[in-house]
Amino acid sequence: MADTIARRRPPAHVKYVEWAIEGLVRLCGVSAIVFILAIFVFIGKEGLVFLAEHVGGMLTSTDWGPTNEPAMYGILALVAGTLWCVGLSLILSVPMGLAAAVYLAEFAPEGRREFLKIVVELLAAIPSVVWGFIGVMILNPLLQWMGAPVGLNGLNGAIVLALMTLPLLVSLGEDSLRAVPESYRQAAIAMGATKWEMVWRVLLPAARRGLLVAVLLGVGRCVGETMAVLMVTGHSVRIPDGLYSPVRTLTATIAAELGEAVRGGEHYQALFALGILLFFVTFLVNLAADTVVRERKLQ
């Protein structure tokens, strides 16, 4: 029997099929790299020259007025707007997301957990523009009712971003909590810990890397988010000076102005320079997350 298996020879055409499939797979892999490099080149070509010329002015001024005479390219207010929204949204989403993750991983009964996970994943499937609607139609009047002069402001953007990142935080957080070995739980319980003491003193420290990765990916998502933020933040270029201050982010600026900028002109190039900056920031955040993951694997 073993003999016949060893002697079985594939028909000749199989070799070519194998060869073709291997070629196809290789092509797919290589093209992914090529596309990414192409994006680098494309954005870099439009923006790098401008960046090199104006970087000093961009980083020292808060005035963004590319259509003014003379044009102003200060990005500090835009950067501040982005950081403001991202920071506020993290303050809202991290405690809530981690608490939800702990509940799902440790406290919810099996059936309820499955149900809630589906709901959370549905939340992740809501398109960003729909979140924009929610910000405009629901949060806008709500914030005005709470006393904001303008309902479309940085806080509105932060709430929308928090809701958008919540699914990511919850599902990644839950995964990393459930990946904590059962033996740790047993050890803590057998020592006489309550369930909450076990979560607080054992599970959270044990899962900290995974939780950090979840937060970092959430940051990356917030920094890059465009459409919802464009719709709800009030679109006002300024350093935020209060909770209800309207702001404008880097992404919203690009999305709003690219259509009207003259192709190849200075304004157009300035927007690409913003793109390079964003790319750089999200790259750093993802790199940080990746480093954390790698360290965890090494352990």
Binding site: Y184, Q186, A187
Partner: protein, 261 residues
């Protein structure tokens, strides 16, 4: 039933089991077990896989509290009525420590592992007192010399043997009355096994120790008395030497001769 009770030495029994039965769903894992554990002794429990020895051990500190477990009978451990609803599981587990099959130090520093019990049960212990308790616990398990310069290192950087010793050390600051060992050496090499057995021997008299083991030779080496279980039933309990040389029950004889299990 053939469970002739060997009279426990004088003093209150650290564990007193009377007609204890346990069901996992409809499967009967313990069948009317009656047993007394004597103060300061090392009691081993042997028997083939699935005989209920681990299940019995885990009853002692309520580690099988799942919803599908049903129990009947009387069980008293370290003065706690384990079967009573009003008994505090946390206090029971404070006084009845458990060592697991795979060393499971917590993913925190060596120091915090030893102090973990105090953090839970006596958070107001002054720092200097806690440090002293930590040192003497580590001394007692012969780890102090090895770890005194790296107390803040992750406990998982230690060898398996040292980790298992650490798991024993972390029980000591709480001054437990009973120590439960669930196959404490099955993940260790012969040297590690010898070290843990030596430790158990040193603690003889100080703590009451109950050891579940797959390893008949280990039971023979470390324990004062030995329990043989089969299919949820306590077949025989006797001084270890006697059980291995003159088993009363034919099933015990067959098992220790290696005819099954």
């Amino acid at each position: 039933m053939s469970q002739d009770l060997v009279a426990a030495p004088s003093g209150a029994a650290p564990a007193r089991v009377r007609g204890l039965s346990l069901w996992y769903g409809t499967f009967r894992a313990l069948d009317r077990v009656t047993l007394d554990v004597a103060p300061g002794e090392i009691l081993s429990m042997i028997g083939p896989s699935g005989c209920g020895k681990s299940t019995l051990l885990r009853c002692f500190n309520r580690m099988n509290e799942q919803s599908y477990v049903r129990m009947e009978g009387d069980l008293e451990v370290a003065g706690y009525d384990v079967m009573s609803r009003s008994t505090d599981s946390l206090a029971l587990r404070r006084d009845v420590g458990m060592v697991f099959q795979r060393p499971n130090p917590l993913p925190i520093s060596i120091r915090e592992n030893v102090l973990f019990g105090l953090r839970l049960h006596a958070p107001k212990t002054p720092r200097s007192v806690a440090e002293g308790m930590m040192e003497s616990a580590l001394q007692q398990v012969a780890l102090w010399e090895l770890v005194k310069d790296k107390l803040d290192r992750d406990a998982e950087s230690l060898s398996l043997e040292a980790r298992q010793k650490l798991c024993i050390a972390r029980l000591l600051p709480l001054k437990p009355k009973v120590l439960l060992f669930d196959e404490p050496c099955s993940a260790l090499d012969p040297d590690g096994t010898a070290a843990v057995e030596e430790l158990m021997d040193e603690m003889r008299g100080t703590f009451t120790q109950v050891v579940v083991t797959h390893n008949m030779q280990q039971a023979r080496r470390v324990s004062d008395r030995c329990v043989f279980m089969l299919m949820g039933e306590l077949v025989e309990v006797a001084p270890t030497a006697e059980l291995f040389t003159h088993p009363k029950d034919e099933r015990t004889a067959k098992y220790i001769e290696g005819r099954y299990g």
